[in-house]
Structure formats: C-alpha cells, structure tokens
C-alpha cells in the first residue's frame, strides 16, 4: 500500500509538473494580454515536432534550446501579423482567431510530418535511472522535466514581479495608454509576451513530446485539460496554475490506480445492486476508467463553489 502510494504520488507530481509546464505559458499570455490562446497546445505540439526534427539534424542538447526559440519566433509572428489585426475587435475575435489557428497548425503538422506518430523516443543522453524507489527506477528525463518545470515557475515569477520589464508588462495590461505615453512600446511588449508564452509552450513540447505520443492529434489530447487548469487555478494566477496542475496530476494518477467502483463500495457495506437496477451502469463504473473525467468534474464543481478559481482575484 505504501509502495503504491509513494509511486503514485511521484508519478502524480511528475504529471502535475508536466501540466504546469503546459499551462504556464498560457497563464502568462492570459494574465498579461487577456487573450485566451486556443493555439497554445498547438505550439506545444510544434515544439515536440521541432525538437524531434532538430534532434535528428543537430543532436538533442542544441535542439532543446532551438525548438523553443523557433516556437517563440512563430509566436511573435502570430501576434504581429494575426492577433494584432483583430485586437481592436475584442476578445471574442482573438479567441476565434487562435481557434482557427489551432486547426491550421494541426493540418500543417500533418502536411509536413504525416498523420502517424513520429518515433520521438527519449534521447539516450537523458535515458538512465536517476534513483530507485521500491524497486522501480525513476528515469532521469522525468527528473529533467521536473527541474525545467520548477525553473519555469521561478523564472516567470521573478520576471514579472522583480524586474523592470515585468513592471512594464503588467502596466501595459491595465494602463496601455499611460505606459505608451511614458515611452514604452506597448505593441512590442505584447509581441514579447506572446513570444515568451509560445517559447514556454515549445519547451514544454520538447519534454512532453517523448512522454506523450508525438502525432497531429497531440494538441487535441492536451488542449482542453490545460484550460481546466487555468480556470481552476484562477484565471491568470501563476501560483494557482501550479497548485491546480499538481492537484489534477496527483488526483488523476491516484484514480488510475484505483480499480474499484461504487458497486464494490456498496457491496462492502452490504448493499447489493443487481444487474437489472437502472443505476447499475453508473455504479459499475470503475474509478480508474472515470479518471479522464476528473479534471472536468473539478471544473464544474469549482464553478459552483468558487467561480473565480483557487487563487483568482478578479472576475473576467
């Protein structure tokens, strides 16, 4: 039991930190620009593909730097030539633009790399056991991922709260005219924010690519869950996103390990539900199979109990 709990907890933390990597860039873009970027998961996917492609050309370590850089450049171009055009028409136009972009990126990825998954395995440079718990080896790439995820949090927090550029970025969100009047390039700040957010998505993609399957549907797989995290954590709250990621990561990992259903629980209490009962189907659902629903159930529950999210301070 202790063994199961320890390993599940460890895996949960790993999964949670991966989710945080994914959502940190989105949180940054949302909190600083108010744009809900539907193409964020697509940039994550582009990061995975770019790192695989570049890894084949120049090796893994350069690729881990170049792929996020490339995603950042793509993000900057998206902001400069797309989002800026629709910015004046409000948030709905921005959301729809990124929504359409997600479609296009998926198809472009298919166009370049095909419909099947590419063989994006763990590079040999980071594929060795870091330590052993209860006879299970903990691979080094998971350790690297955890380190990068924590570094992302620290970097974003310090950049926004402790630096001059962070001050300008925060000012540009609430008082764009004043910040512009003080001589700062507000549109330039937006390009920068979007580029950093995209680069973070790309970096998450580099690591997430070999933990998940690198194929054109990757964006669909991770997209919705990232939005759940952003809402749960409180829109635009970085610390909230971290907590929400860990919560979902750990809950889901534990749920997958629980092979019991409501039926078993009732049986233990001495209540037998027969096959003919109308609720048999519902009661027979195993916790493990219901695991994919947990994030969305949490979302709905959060909405009822506390609509602004865990650490949210404002209503959108």
């Amino acid at each position: 039991m202790l063994e199961l709990a320890t390993i599940s907890l460890l895996n949960g933390i790993v999964y949670g930190l991966l989710l945080f990597m994914l959502s940190s860039g989105l949180t940054l873009i949302f909190s600083m620009m108010g744009v809900l970027n539907f193409a964020h998961a697509s940039l994550f996917m582009l990061g995975a593909y770019c790192s695989w492609q570049l890894g084949r050309w120049v090796g893994f370590w350069p690729a881990i730097l170049l792929a996020p850089l490339l995603c950042g450049l793509i993000g900057a171009a998206i902001e400069r030539y797309g989002l800026r055009r629709v910015h004046g028409r409000g948030h709905v136009a921005e959301i729809l633009f990124t929504f359409g972009l997600a479609y296009i990126i998926e198809e472009v990825v298919t166009m370049i790399w095909g419909r099947n998954a590419v063989a994006n395995g763990v590079p040999s440079a980071i594929d060795f056991p870091l330590f052993t718990v209860f006879g299970t080896q903990f691979p080094a790439y998971k350790g690297l991922m955890m380190a990068i995820s924590v570094a992302m949090f620290v970097f974003l927090y310090l950049m926004l709260q402790r630096t001059r550029i962070g001050l300008v970025i925060r000012g540009a969100l609430t008082h764009p005219r004043m910040v512009a009047a003080l001589g700062h390039d507000v549109p330039g700040v937006f390009v920068l924010v979007f580029a950093i957010g995209s680069a973070l998505a790309g970096l998450a993609g580099v690591i997430g690519g070999f933990m998940l399957l690198t194929q054109p549907t990757l964006a669909h797989v991770v997209g919705p869950i990232v939005f759940v995290i952003v809402v749960l954590g409180g829109l635009g709250s970085l610390a909230g996103a971290l907590i929400a990621s860990m919560l979902i990561g750990i809950l889901q990992t534990f749920a997958v390990a629980i092979d019991y259903s409501l039926l078993d629980a009732l049986r233990a209490l001495g209540i037998a539900v027969t096959r003919g009962s109308p609720w048999y189907d519902v009661a027979a659902i195993k916790v493990a199979t219901a695991a994919p629903m947990i994030p969305y159930l949490l979302l709905v529950l959060m909405l009822i109990v506390r609509p602004r999210g865990l650490l949210g301070t404002r209503d959108a």
Binding site: G34, L36, G82, R85, V86, R89, H91, V92, A93, I95, L96, F97, F99, G100, L101, Y103, I104, E106, E107, V108, T110, M111, I112, W113, G114, R115, H220, P224, F227, V228, V230, V231, L235, D281, V282, I285, T289, A290, P292, M293, P295, Y296, L297, L299, V300, L303, I304, P307, D315, A316
Partner: protein
C-alpha cells in the same frame, strides 16, 4: 451593429409593416425552393438529396448556435453536447417506436427537442452564471465531460459504436414510410423550416430583444431591472432545444448516434459554420451551414487536405471579413442602385485573376506536400485539374511558390483599386439616396 443582430441588413430602414410583408414573401420563396430543390437537375440522385438533407440539419444546428453567439453574445465551444444528447434522446425514442410505441416516426425530432431542452436547462443553470471568456472555457469543459461520459455508460450511449435504430419499422403512415432519401429530406426540410421560423420569431420577442441587449451592454440591462443571467439562461435553453431538434433530425437521417455527435469536432464545426456565414444576421448561419456542408462533402472527395482549406478560409474571414460571407453580400445592398456598382464589379473581376493565381499556387503546394507526407503509396504525381504535377521534381514547387507570392502581391495592388471604386460607390449611394 445593434440592429444587425435581429434584422437582416437588407431590411434596414423600412417600417415594421413593410418588414412583415417582405419577410412573408422571403419565407414563401424559401418554402417553394425547399420543395422544388430535390427535383432540380443534378440533385435528383440519392447523393444529392442526402447532401440537401445534411444541409437542412446543419442549418437548424447553426441557427440554434447563433441564438447563443450572434444574438446573446455567448461564445460556446460545446454546443454539440445538446445536439448529441438530443440525438441520443431521439434514437432511444426511435428504438421504442421499433418496439411498438405508437408514435409516428416523423415526430421523433420532438424527442430530440425535449432532450436538448432538458440538458440545456440542466447545464445552462450552471454555465450561464458567467459570460465572456469564462463561459467559453466552461462550455469547453462541459463538452469534454459529456464526451468522456458517453464512454462510461455504454448502455445509454453505446460508446464508440453508438446506438442504432430503424426509421422504417414503425406505425405505417399513408404515403410516408421514410423508405427513400426523398421522404427523409422532406421531413427534415419541414422541421428545418418550422425551427427556423420559430427561432426567427424568438428573436422578435421581448426576450429575444433583451438577449441582444445583454450581448451589447449587460450592465445597462441590469440597471433597467432585468437579470442578465436569467436572460442568458433562457437563450441557452432555447439554443439547446433547437440543437436537440437538429440532433433528432440527425438520428432520423443516419439511424445511428455515436459519441462523435457530442464531440469537440462537431462543436467546432458549428462555430465555424455560424461565423463563416456571418453571425450578425439571420441568413448568415444558414449560408454558413450550406457552404460548410458542401465543402465537407465535396472537397473531402477531392483532397485529404480539406480541413486545412476550411481553416484557411475561416482565418481569412476572421481577419478580413468579420461580418461573414453573408455580411459581404449584404454589404452591397446600399450601392445596389448606384451607377458606380458596375465599376466596383469590374474591379472585382480584375482582382479575381491574381486571387485565382494565388489560390492555385497555394493549392499546388498544399496538395504536393500532403501527397508526400500522408499518401506516399499513391506515387509522387499529383493531379490538379488538368495538370499532373510531379512532386519529386523541383519545377512544380518553384512554379507553385511563384504563383502564390506573385498572386498575393498582385492581389494587394488590385485590392487598392477595388477600395477606391468602393469608396466612390458608397459616396454616390449616400449622396443620391437621401431624400
């Protein structure tokens, strides 16, 4: 913009009485068209009639979406939930009819409507507490939740394989056994007309007007003494009801409802339909539903890249024509009777050439890339109209790229000339139109 949401732009400025008379004429013309269409040349095949049936279903679905988005300003990424759950309600109703329930089969969409309404009320009570971005996110979450749930309850939803029923095994109605696609078409068309008329009527009710007010300025609505949350809830329930009708028609047409009916892809496609046609007018979503259904069925027969083309069209509309396809057409109403119209049309014709060159170049590049990445087994020669392009040689790639870039440059130049002619025409319309 405030009025465009409720009245077709071409009707602006007339009295309410003339409004009604003209509206009745339009509806009558549409009804006649709907009756004649399946006998038009080219549409008499089962394929043609099936296409028309699908368009009818899509129109109801897109219009129901616009009650939310265009009328009330609620951007939903999970509208397929009400389509799909309505569809499931309908298919279970059809199974009951198969087992002897004495209900005529053409009334099955009522079960869909009930299913859509119940789900709309249940989820709407929860989700319409918020508007704007949060609502969009929550609708997405609810969509994912329901999609995941369909796999957990195989008895109710049938999982990936879905639930099937027969539309012919029922109480026999004289002359209406739903055996042929033509009969299915007429049933769908009748429901589509009734639903469209009902939704049009809804936008004219005080509640419908309040929906527009909530979209444009919720604070003021609250100040006047109405509850925006309640109005959003009503709009949501109405949208759910008609999405359920569309789902019921879907069940009737395909005799199967599976998990994909509630999926994110369908939610996305109804959003694209409504926006592509134009959410600012009643006709917009209808046009969008027709165009997207046609693209889905015809384009996908020619190319595996059809989703990319749809995505590109969608992005182009967001960037350059936010009023949608119908908005572009309606834009010309004020200059329809000016002499400058001819000059505008002539400039359009001139701009069409570089546009066509650009599209051809892009299509060549896209098709060749797709062939190499997804269908290598078919060889490297891509047939594009009369041309056979060998993707393994550099010439078609260079030619395609040159056409794309050259067409784009020429299009930008000719767009300037169009703009000049357009300005002259609007000036003339304004000068000559005033009494």
């Amino acid at each position: 913009m405030t009025d465009a949401g409720v009245a077709a732009p071409s009707l602006g400025g007339r009295t309410t009485h003339a409004h009604g008379a003209r509206d009745r004429r339009v509806w009558l013309a549409v009804a006649v068209l709907v009756v004649v269409l399946p006998h038009a040349p080219g549409l008499t095949t089962d394929f043609g009639r099936s296409l028309l049936t699908q368009m009818g279903i899509a129109i109801v679905f897109a219009l129901s979406y616009n009650v939310l988005f265009g009328e009330t300003g609620l951007l939903s990424f999970g509208h397929a939930v009400y389509f799909g759950l309505g569809g499931y309600a309908a298919i279970h109703c059809m199974r009951a009819i198969n087992h002897g329930l004495p209900l005529p089969m053409p009334f099955v969409p009522l079960a869909g409507a009930a299913g859509g309404l119940v789900c709309g009320l249940a989820f709407g009570a929860l989700t319409t507490r918020r508007a704007g971005t949060i609502f969009a996110l929550i609708s997405l979450g609810v969509g994912e939740l329901v999609y995941a749930a369909t796999f957990l309850l195989p008895g109710l939803f049938g999982g990936e394989e879905g639930i099937t029923a027969s539309r012919t095994r029922a109480l026999a109605l004289p002359g209406l056994d739903l055996g042929s696609q033509l009969q299915v078409y007429y049933v769908v068309a009748a429901w589509a007309l009734v639903s469209a008329a009902a939704m049009r009527a809804f936008t004219r009710t005080p509640v419908g007007r309040l929906c527009n007010a909530v979209r444009d300025n919720p604070e003021r609505v609250q100040f006047v003494g109405y509850d925006p949350q309640r109005i959003r809830f009503i709009a949501f329930a109405v949208a759910g009801l008609f999405a359920g009708v569309a789902g019921g028609l879907h069940a009737l047409n395909y005799e199967i409802v599976a998990a994909d009916a509630v999926g994110a892809q369908r939610s996305g496609s109804v959003l694209v339909m409504a926006y592509m046609g134009g959410t600012g007018s009643f006709a917009g979503p209808v046009v969008g539903a027709i165009v997207l259904t046609w693209l889905e069925t015809s384009l996908s027969a020619y190319t595996s890249a059809w989703l990319l083309y749809v995505g590109l069209i969608f992005i182009a509309i967001i960037l350059f024509a936010p009023a949608g396809l119908w908005g572009i057409v309606a834009m010309h109403a004020p200059i329809l009777h000016t002499r400058a119209l001819r000059r505008v049309l002539a400039r359009y014709a001139v701009a069409l050439l570089p546009g066509a060159i650009m599209v051809a170049g892009a299509a060549a590049l896209i098709e060749m890339s797709y062939r190499l990445s997804t269908q290598r087994e078919l060889g490297s020669v891509v047939k594009l109209g009369p041309l056979a392009l060998d993707a393994s040689t550099p010439v078609p790639w260079i030619a395609g790229a040159a056409m794309l870039v050259g067409g784009l440059v020429l299009l930008r130049i000719s767009a300037r000339f169009v703009a000049v002619a357009w300005q002259a025409a609007t000036l003339e319309a304004r000068g000559g139109g005033a009494p």
